[in-house]
């Protein structure tokens, strides 16, 4: 087994950058902080590609099966000889694949931000936070211990919180960051309990050992965890469901999705990195990491399937009605992650039946590229227009030709039009769904059509629709990115500098090309290569549906007309409900403000003030009273003290001479 120790540098470089920029960035390095961050991440990216090449093409495969390699193991907290929390790094197909995805998307975002965030006052802080996030995400990917996963999981949450509230003088951004943090923290509570359940019954926190113990039906641990039951479900089901709850919180699955659309208050490149390509797929990654255990439990897998499918459909419907372009993309992200989730849910472990697993990972891989491209494109548009609203846009195809082409490619990719990347991964998911569960297949097909519709609604509204009218709105709003590069705008079609265009072009190339990677040769549930083929007859239905949806969107939005309004009126209440995001936020507010606050929060507050604080206060006042009674002894007179001293000596003498014999 060869040495993978050098991948330790992949997360450590961003960490070093974070420390450097966090401590000295604003004072000494503000001019070059962006370049420092980008350069260190470039190194990480190169190392990731080296690792991927070494693993996939040189020595990862032994007898046709990709091995799980533990590159580093360090016993960190040892509670007893058998129970310890280790820090380690695991190298297997999905972790290497995620390394490549996270570092390359992060690198693109770093480069894009050089242009987008130029002139911001807290430029160095921004890059410090980006580095912190990249470090945490890479650490999460490489974790070999489920408790280590949890630690990095929380770090990722914190850095997401910091980046959402980057514009901290905007109240909405502050509220959004708090919402994101609290909702995901709530979900992480479930995750923690799930970890403790699995750790308690499995007797270890090590992921490899857990998988080994829970996947053999005859092991003592498996018998004990399936034997114990609570409220009618076995502890294995409970543990896995609670772990999935953590994953659903991070991945914005219904009903824990409410934070994701609000998280769009952060800078747009941050949305591209965190809320599209990397952090939100952490939940999918977690389920995939624990997949052999999940595959032992039918109920937990069904929960994953139906939550995923429901989220996919639900988010797609809402996305059709939103007018803020970043919110449309947010709901689209949620919908695509729903795809990945249910693809995992319908999968089995190993062999031909593991198609769903492979398809899910494939979709994660392609989605990262075209979704970050969509967000960066949207960022370029917002940078130009200084507005997130569709009604402020239109006709931008002439002003921003490169952005236009890149955005179109991304839209085609997400709509699943061959030969763009999304087509291949979506076909695999649909094939898996078709073989396993016809209901899910129906939902997936309908969602795919909806996806094409809302993506092209977005595309036509931004780049076609009415003619360009950006002059009035331009340069007078400063609440978004500072427009530090106006001078370049004039002789550059207003598209921003090459720093913003280069990532778009690279990602567009990826969105075209990555679908052709024979993914099933590399990433499968059991490490063996899986033969897949695109069945042309099978592909007809989704592609035709997508094309029809695109044509429908074109007829509605390509030129300004009232067809879309008429349809909206025809749907009536349903449209309004979808526009209001099906009132999920209102339900949450009702539950928290009307039920939790008065019935749980206030009694607890009362108990805290009167019982817990009261006890402490009682201790304090008693001490004070006793003190005021006996403080007269401290008279300040030397002779008194001498008297006490002699008194004490006499008393001790009596004690030791006459009493204590």
């Amino acid at each position: 087994m060869s040495n993978y120790f050098y991948i330790l540098w992949i997360p450590l470089l961003p960490l070093a950058t974070f420390v450097l920029l966090g401590l000295f960035g604003r004072k000494y390095l503000s001019g070059i902080s962006g370049l420092i961050g980008t350069a260190s991440l470039l190194t990480s990216t190169i190392l990731s590609f080296v690792a991927a090449k070494q693993y996939f093409f040189v020595d990862g495969k032994v007898n046709g099966v990709f091995q799980k390699i533990v590159a580093l193991k360090y016993t960190w907290l040892e509670f007893s000889p058998n129970v310890s929390i280790d820090l380690g790094m695991i190298v297997d197909p999905i972790s290497v694949m995620m390394l490549v995805v996270v570092t390359s998307v992060s690198l693109m975002v770093h480069i894009f931000s050089l242009g987008y965030m130029k002139g911001e006052e807290r430029f160095a802080t921004y890059y410090a936070f980006l580095s912190l996030f990249t470090f945490s995400m890479l650490g999460l990917i490489l974790s070999s211990n489920i408790f280590q996963v949890y630690m990095f999981w929380e770090l990722v949450g914190v850095s997401s919180f910091l980046l959402i509230s980057y514009y901290f003088n905007k109240p909405s951004a502050v509220a959004a960051s708090k919402k994101a943090f609290i909702v995901t923290r709530f979900a992480d509570l479930g995750f923690l309990i799930g970890i403790l359940i699995l750790g308690y019954y499995g007797g270890t926190m090590d992921i490899g050992l857990l998988i080994e113990r829970f996947t053999s039906a005859s092991s003592a641990q498996y018998i004990s965890i399936t034997g114990a039951s609570f409220l009618g479900a076995s502890m294995l089901t409970w543990g896995l469901t609670l772990i999935f709850m953590g994953g659903a919180g991070k991945s914005a699955m219904f009903p824990l999705h409410i934070w994701l659309p609000d998280a769009m208050e952060g800078p747009t490149p941050v949305s591209a990195l965190i809320h599209a390509a990397t952090m939100v797929v952490a939940g999918v990654y977690l389920v995939a990491r624990m997949f052999p255990v999940f595959s032992m439990d039918e109920i937990a897998l069904n929960i994953v399937t139906y939550v995923g499918a429901a989220s996919a459909l639900f988010a797609a419907v809402i996305a059709c009605t939103q007018t803020d372009i970043k919110r449309v993309l947010a709901y689209s992200t949620m919908s695509q992650i729903g795809y990945m989730m249910f693809a995992l849910g319908i999968s089995k472990n190993g062999g031909e039946q593991g198609l769903g697993y492979m398809a899910s990972m494939f979709h994660l891989f392609t989605h990262a590229f075209f979704k970050s491209l969509l967000f960066l494109g949207a960022g370029a548009v917002i940078h130009k227009i200084h507005s997130n609203e569709m009604k402020d846009m239109g006709g931008l195809r002439k002003l921003m030709p490169i952005t236009h082409i890149a955005f179109l490619i991304a839209c085609l990719a997400i709509a699943g039009i061959p030969p763009f990347a999304g087509f291949f991964s979506k076909e695999e998911i649909l094939t898996a769904a078709f073989h396993e569960n016809k209901v899910i297949y129906g939902i997936a097909l309908f969602t795919a059509a909806l996806t094409s519709f809302y993506m092209f609604r977005l595309y036509f509204n931004i780049f076609w629709s009415k003619e360009a009218s950006v002059t009035a709105k331009d340069h007078n709003s400063h609440n978004l990115a500072a427009d530090g590069n106006n001078s370049q705008d004039n002789h550059d079609h207003g598209e921003g500098t090459w720093k913003m265009k280069l990532p778009l072009l690279i990602l567009a190339t990826c969105a075209i090309g990555v679908g052709f990677i024979p993914f099933s040769q590399f990433v499968t549930s059991d490490g063996k290569a899986l033969a897949t083929h695109i069945d042309l007859v099978f592909s007809i239905a989704p592609v035709v549906l997508s094309v029809l949806a695109i044509l429908l969107a074109a007829s509605f939005y390509k030129n300004q007309n009232d067809k879309s309004d008429k349809v909206a009126t025809a749907f009536g209440g349903f449209y309004t409900a979808a526009y209001k995001k099906f009132y999920v936020d209102e339900v949450y507010l009702f539950i928290t403000k009307k039920i939790i606050f008065p019935l749980i929060g206030q009694p607890i507050a009362w108990a805290d003030k009167n019982i817990i604080d009261g006890f402490v206060q009682l201790l304090a006042t008693t001490t004070a009273k006793i003190a005021s009674l006996i403080k007269g002894l401290q008279s300040g007179k030397v002779q008194n003290y001498a008297l006490y001293f002699f008194g004490g000596v006499v008393a001790l003498s009596i004690l030791f001479i006459y009493i204590w014999k």
Partner: protein, 104 residues
């Protein structure tokens, strides 16, 4: 010649000790208090010498102790008088009742 019994000497040293103690508690003048402390120390010295002579005439340990105590008493007197002089400079008095700032 009849020898003086040990008890007589112990009686003298006890009287000396309690005279010193009485002086320490009743006198307000710091110099007098210091003198009282010296009295008490000397009563201890007498005890050491007496016990050495009557119980272990072959050893000299008690005498050495006495010499040590006399040396240390001299040093202690120097320190105490330095303190008293400083107190006098700040309070214009060496009455112990006038220096009671260090109370509750």
């Amino acid at each position: 010649m009849q020898e003086i019994p040990l008890t007589h000497i112990l009686f003298v040293s006890t009287a000396l000790f309690f005279i010193g103690m009485y002086g320490l508690f009743t006198r307000r003048n710091l110099i007098t208090m210091l003198m009282s402390i010296e009295l008490m120390l000397n009563s201890v010295n007498i005890n050491f010498v007496a016990f050495n002579k009557y119980l272990f005439p072959d050893n000299l340990d008690g005498l050495f102790f006495t010499l040590f105590i006399i040396t240390i008493a001299a040093a202690e007197a120097a320190v105490a008088i330095a303190i008293i002089i400083n107190l006098y400079r700040s309070h214009q008095s060496i009455d112990v009742e006038d220096a009671t700032e260090m109370k509750y």
